[in-house]
């Protein structure tokens, strides 16, 4: 009797388990896929974070909100560009809302922290938002963290050669003192030093600094140009003070330096801005058909009257690319996330992602190999300044063409060629 009872209990348990298994596998096909979306809706990058969310939503809209018969459900969270806040928000999405895929975060420090966290959650696939720290995928990478955008150093490839072609043999660097400008300067100098250029002087200034007079006083007489890697308001402040001090060296810009507020600059040096070179992952004036279609779609979905930007920002573009990768991967495996998402991750690693700016592939650390644009400031008929595409470099990888052993992550003193 006792044995019978035990047998009965076991068989019932077995039946229940079988039912759960079959039901689970069957239900997976019809159930929505939950995707967590994290961007900075607070703090210094609030405007950029909101545009990033627009970009990600655009990718979902283009697919009509479903992939391979499974509805896409987006759950949003916000941070303020601080790593601890980003991890708290991610933890909520992963452990409380139980998302299947996580897209985010936006800034570099956050990206490293979320990568560290992703190692403790092997059942979820993490795809980057817009964070661009080199260390995220170079230093101790996580097997379930994917990044389909290129980062700060990759964005500057091509600028060094273009500067040499313009005849700038010696350049002084003026950049903000944190990780993103380090990587930008590294991207520039790696190529520039290899081509025989010299960087005799580097000035690292605090973020949000107001007074550049001591830096301007340090500019050597014999440099041909200045590489200025400063964000929006800092760049304009520097330009104004440099003009007042009577400076006349031509400028090279970082990826976020020659933005619209610099192009709208009204000082006497406005004319000398013409010819300024910079580099980045996108160019407003690029005339590729896919890029134009993307811009048109963005402008139609988010008109300026509804809070959109006149043209998609870097954050919108990068979030769009990463969300598109998440959805394309889902399509490739027909919405199958079983087996701890093994097939899905396999598909992501092998995939050639079609982006508005050309194809992107991943390297062994799940980091994008993609396209960089070098742009040049020109004047149109009405006298407005805009960034024209100077050249386009495809297949830029994270090691910048170096071997793994000789590559060191950029810092104040790396690389150097005085």
């Amino acid at each position: 009797m006792n044995v019978n009872k035990r047998l009965w209990v076991r068989s019932m348990l077995g039946a229940a388990a079988l039912a759960a298994l079959v039901g689970g596998a069957w239900a997976q096909q019809g159930q929505p896929v939950k995707i967590g979306l994290l961007a900075t809706l607070e703090g210094p990058f609030a405007a950029g974070g909101a545009d990033g969310m627009r970009g990600a939503e655009l990718a979902v809209k283009q697919r009509g909100g479903t992939v391979a018969g499974r509805k896409i459900e987006i759950i949003k969270a916000s941070s303020d560009a601080k790593p601890d806040v980003a991890v708290n928000a991610t933890r909520k999405l992963v452990e409380q809302d139980k998302v299947d895929i996580m897209v985010g975060p936006l800034s570099g420090g956050e990206g490293i922290a979320v990568k560290d966290y992703s190692k403790t959650q092997p059942q979820v696939t993490f795809i980057n938002g817009a964070s661009g720290a080199q260390a995220t995928t170079l230093d101790n990478p996580s097997p379930n963290f994917f990044r389909f955008n290129t980062e700060g150093a990759q964005w500057m490839i091509g600028l060094g050669k273009a500067a040499m072609a313009k005849g700038y043999k010696r350049v002084m660097v003026i950049a903000e003192d944190y990780a993103f400008p380090y990587s930008q300067v590294q991207g520039f100098m790696t190529e520039y030093c290899r081509a025989g250029g010299k960087v005799p002087e580097k000035a690292w200034v605090p973020l949000g600094g107001k007074d550049y007079s001591s830096v301007i006083a340090k500019i050597p007489k014999d440099v041909d140009a200045l590489l200025v890697v400063l964000g929006g308001a800092d760049a304009v402040n520097f330009l104004t003070q440099y003009e007042n001090a009577g400076g006349d060296k031509p400028m090279l810009g970082g990826s976020i330096t020659v933005s619209q507020d610099v192009l709208n600059y009204k000082g006497k040096r406005r004319e000398s801005l013409v010819g300024t070179l910079s580099a980045g992952p996108l160019a407003d004036a690029y005339d590729g058909a896919d890029w134009k279609a993307f811009v048109a779609d963005y402008q139609k979905t988010y008109p300026v009257s509804a809070g959109g930007f006149p043209s998609p920002s870097l954050f919108a573009y990068v979030y769009y690319v990463n969300m598109k990768a998440a959805l394309d991967g889902l399509e490739a495996v027909k919405g199958d996330l079983s087996g701890n998402q093994a097939k899905y991750r396999e598909a992501l690693s092998k995939m050639t992602l079609k982006t508005p700016n050309g194809d992107v592939k991943l390297d062994a650390n799940r980091q994008a190999i993609g396209t960089t644009f070098v742009t040049e400031v020109v004047k149109d008929d009405k006298g407005n300044l805009f960034n024209k595409v100077h050249s386009k470099i495809d297949n830029v990888d994270q090691l910048l063409g170096m071997k793994k052993e000789e590559f060191k992550i950029g810092s104040r003193d790396v690389p150097a060629c005085p």
């Binding site: 809706l41 607070e42 909101a50 969310m53 949003k76 969270a77 916000s78 303020d80 560009a81 601080k82 790593p83 601890d84 806040v85 991890v87 708290n88 933890r91 909520k92 452990e95 409380q96 570099g108 420090g109 490293i112 922290a113 560290d116 966290y117 260390a135 230093d139 101790n140 003192d177 944190y178 990780a179 605090p206 973020l207 992550i409 810092s411 104040r412």
Partner: protein
């Protein structure tokens, strides 16, 4: 009454709880064995059913709640509550509102990160074992808190707030711009609690109990100190420093000692906070966090040490779940609205609301503390 007599009166046994000034007859000095009975009786008198209910609740809670709630909501509330408790002690019982409590916690966190094991781009960590690094971190932070106190006790009221705010901001910019020790903007990461006794202390349930033990220790320490002669003298100094000085008390020494004790509480909270986040960056000691600690303390109510923890629970719940209740770009409005409503309707925070509710229902007099309202 002379200062010596006053001190003797303050030191006089359990009778001091209810009526601090009640004189105690010398004959009441009991023999050792009855003393234990006395102690038990006192325990039975102070422990009420609702204390036991709370104790059972906090012990059973992690086994009922999900790991997420246990770790992110409960453990984080306990850690923030502990840091806010240090401010409640300073502000409520010492009359000194210091905005630098989060800075002290951050100093402990940075000390632990630099002395213990952590990773960063530059090779900064000294990789001491945790049982050396943690005491050093606590000692360094307590020492810094003492120095902060020593600097700021010369000021009163709003000037104390100003000087502690200035110290906090200075520390923020120091860690933001120093790369050789604090690794600047990126800070230090991968700082986790050690594995001791075969328990991984970062797992939700063990970490919860670690935080609970520290929080309860801090809570009872404050409850005990404010009834000890030192705490009574501190409250006397809060209410009338000149009279206490005339009675022979060293006002500055008492205040600095209060800063040191509060610094120790904040330092323990800082170590736990670093373990909770797994990293420390300048963002953890930024102005917004200095103010958040004040918000937590005020939200809960400064009249009782429990307020710090209540405030922390409400604060963490709002931070975590507000985005689910209201559309994404507006969720900070909800957080601000709730804070505003609580402070508007009850200047004493949640504890004030609770006391008002109790007195409205009229069962017993509302929860009160032995402190006078600040002048």
């Amino acid at each position: 009454m002379s200062a010596a007599q006053w001190r003797r009166a303050m030191r006089s046994g359990p009778g001091a709880q209810a009526l601090p000034l009640a004189p105690v007859a010398p004959a009441a000095l009991p023999a050792p064995a009855p003393a234990r009975l006395d102690w038990l009786a006192a325990l039975r008198r102070t422990v009420r059913p609702h204390h036991l209910a709370v104790l059972v609740f906090v012990l059973v809670f992690p086994f009922v709640a999900t790991p997420f709630i246990t770790f992110q909501v409960a453990a984080q509330s306990l850690v923030l509550g502990l840091i806010a408790l240090s401010l409640t002690f300073l502000g409520g019982y010492g009359g000194m509102v210091s905005l630098a409590q989060m800075t002290v916690a951050g100093i402990a966190g940075y000390a632990l990160a630099v002395l213990g094991t952590s990773s960063s781009g530059a090779d900064i960590a000294m990789r001491w074992p945790w049982w050396v690094a943690v005491p050093f971190a606590l000692a360094i932070a307590t020492l810094c808190a003492t120095l902060i106190g020593w600097l700021s006790v010369r000021t009163e009221g709003i000037y104390t707030i100003m000087i502690t705010l200035a110290i906090g901001v200075a520390f923020y910019y120091l860690v933001l711009q120093n790369y050789s020790v604090f690794n600047g903007f990126q800070g230090l990461r991968e700082i986790y609690p050690p594995k001791v006794l075969g328990v991984a202390w970062r797992d939700p349930v063990p970490f919860y109990f670690l935080c609970l033990a520290c929080a309860m220790a801090g809570y009872f320490l404050v409850r005990w100190v404010v009834r000890a002669p030192f705490g009574i003298a501190l409250q006397g100094i809060r209410d009338n420093p000149r009279r206490m000085e005339a009675l022979g008390y060293h006002v500055v020494a008492h205040r600095v000692a209060a800063y040191a004790l509060a610094g120790l509480l904040a330092a323990v909270g800082g170590v736990l906070l670093v373990w909770y986040n797994g990293l420390i960056t300048p963002g953890s000691v930024s102005i917004s966090w200095l103010i958040n600690i004040l918000v937590v303390a005020v939200l809960g109510g400064m009249r009782h040490p429990m307020g710090a923890f209540l405030g922390a629970i409400v604060f963490v719940l709002l931070q975590t779940f507000a985005i689910d209740l209201i559309d994404r770009e507006r969720f900070n409005l909800l957080i601000g609205g709730v804070f505003f409503a609580i402070v508007l309707f009850s200047p004493d925070g949640l504890l004030g609301l609770w006391a008002a509710l109790r007195s409205r229902l009229g069962s017993r007099p509302g929860m009160t503390s032995n402190q006078r309202r600040q002048p």
